[in-house]
């Protein structure tokens, strides 16, 4: 079995993640932040430790500026819907995920407008075109750090500088890069950073977070019990309670903490070097096959999209699954405008995404499977 769908969710996780979740569930899964007894306190302390680990990883000064969410999508929704008011304008790119476009389209019904900067056919964002899209009332810019279809990176450093100079809030969707690339929210001038916990950070599904920069006050997506100011029937204002109503996914968050510790031990540099080796081998080998079309302009992260001439992406993925035990994702990857940009809206693409736990052998097997499928297709005419 070869799992190459790590851009959707990483699998497997480091052993320490399973152990941390199991230990919490069996021994101390009290309701964190609610009661003062030792079981609840242990859960609270461990959840806080995950905040600290995230803060350290992304150079966030105050761990309490990190809000836990159930995934990256919830973090993006909170960032967008919490900040934007009727009359505000947003700039984004044509390489985003539906977790950005769908909230923006919902907000458009409430009087918020947005512009989508078209990227080049290989997925690159032109800074001049981006700057031209900014308006007097642009409140926020939201960009992904790297595309979930091609792995292509957007120029977030340059955009962050421009936003900071113009006083525009800058939100980054780090779904594909958190735990892989270095992200320093201060250096990159990021006001809001959204990411899932279950991809590169190696946490379980059901985890994610939004970093909210100092001084920013967002409208909460939901209200409820927070374990604080219980005498008050209005939502508290303090961070992170304002945005964390209801019982948190403490076992998941604690597992996420174990995932981040694993990253720290191995180092992001080592993880990137491993990814790079696999990606390089994969792309080199596939470039030799005439009937394979690769998309993207040479990314840094291990997300590779391709199509085999004459086959739908779904057909290729089905063959890989049923005949070769290789699990990849076909279709549009929830990013329709990316496919319009790449010219693959009709066919979709087959996406291969590697993780630290994939081996060179697995990549070789995948190349060999693709070669065989190409030959079969050619022979079948």
């Amino acid at each position: 079995m070869t799992y190459l769908d790590n851009a959707a969710t990483t699998f497997p996780k480091p052993e320490a993640v399973y152990q941390a979740i199991d230990k919490c569930m069996r021994h101390y899964a009290g309701n964190q932040g609610r009661s003062g007894h030792r079981l609840s306190m242990q859960a609270s302390r461990e959840v806080y430790e995950t905040r600290e680990l995230l803060a350290k990883l992304f150079n966030i000064q105050n761990p309490l500026r990190i809000v836990f969410t159930e995934n990256g999508t919830e973090a993006l929704n909170l960032g967008l819907k919490g900040v934007l008011e009727p009359g505000d304008h947003v700039v984004t790119s044509s390489m985003e995920h539906n977790s950005v476009y769908r909230p923006l389209n919902a907000l458009a019904e409430k009087g918020i407008t947005f512009s989508i900067v078209l990227c080049s056919p290989d997925g690159c964002l032109d800074i001049e075109a981006f700057t031209a899209a900014l308006q007097q009332n642009t409140k926020m810019v939201i960009l992904n750090h790297a595309s979930n279809v091609t792995g292509e990176m957007l120029p977030i450093r340059e955009v962050g500088e421009i936003c900071a100079k113009k006083g525009i809030l800058f939100m980054v969707d780090a779904a594909q890069t958190a735990g892989i690339l270095d992200i320093d929210v201060q250096d990159l001038k990021i006001d809001l950073l959204a990411a899932p916990g279950h991809k590169g950070l190696f946490g379980p599904q059901g985890t994610g977070f939004l970093y909210i920069g100092e001084g920013l006050d967002l409208k909460p997506l939901k209200e409820g019990g927070t374990g604080s100011r219980s005498e008050d029937v209005f939502q508290p204002l303090m961070m992170p309670d304002r945005y964390e109503s209801g019982t948190l996914n403490a076992p998941g968050i604690i597992g996420l903490g174990a995932g981040i510790k694993f990253l720290q031990q191995e180092t992001l540099q080592k993880i990137r070097a491993h990814d790079e080796k696999l990606r390089h081998y994969f792309i080199e080998a596939l470039s030799q096959i005439e009937t394979v079309r690769l998309y993207g302009a040479g990314a840094l992260i291990s997300v590779v999209s391709l199509n085999i001439e004459g086959l739908d992406s779904t057909e290729t993925a089905y063959l890989l699954d049923r005949e070769y035990d290789i699990f990849v994702r076909p279709g549009l990857h929830c990013a329709p405008l990316t496919h319009r940009t790449l010219g693959t809206l009709d066919t979709g693409t087959v996406r291969f995404s590697f993780s630290y736990f994939n081996t060179e052998d697995e990549v070789q097997q995948s190349v060999s499977a693709i070669q065989k499928i190409c030959l079969q297709k050619r022979d079948a005419g």
Binding site: G36, G227, S228
Partner: protein
């Protein structure tokens, strides 16, 4: 000293998240326990930090670096009519 026995000091918070953060920051400096917030104090947050022993000058010097809106109280060990005497101390 008698005073040590007659009174104890507690910091209260608006949120358990703040209490946990402060606990982590000061536990290596002061001898503290996390306790349910005494009922005479503001009930905003159910947990508070109790100082088993405290050098107040050291606490005053440290507090500005903590950057959490906590409130310091001095409480009597002895209860009069079921309640402790409380006094807020500005930090």
């Amino acid at each position: 000293m008698d005073l040590e026995k007659d009174f104890f000091y507690v910091i209260t918070f608006e949120s358990p998240n703040q209490a946990i953060q402060v606990e982590k920051q000061i536990k290596s400096i002061f001898e503290i326990s996390v306790i349910p917030t005494p009922r005479e104090l503001d009930k905003s947050c159910g947990i508070a930090i109790k100082f088993n022993t405290v050098d107040l000058d050291k606490l005053f010097a440290l507090w500005p670096t903590i950057k959490i809106p906590g409130r310091l109280f001095k409480l009597s060990n002895k209860k009069i009519n079921g309640s402790r005497e409380t006094q807020e101390i500005q930090i």
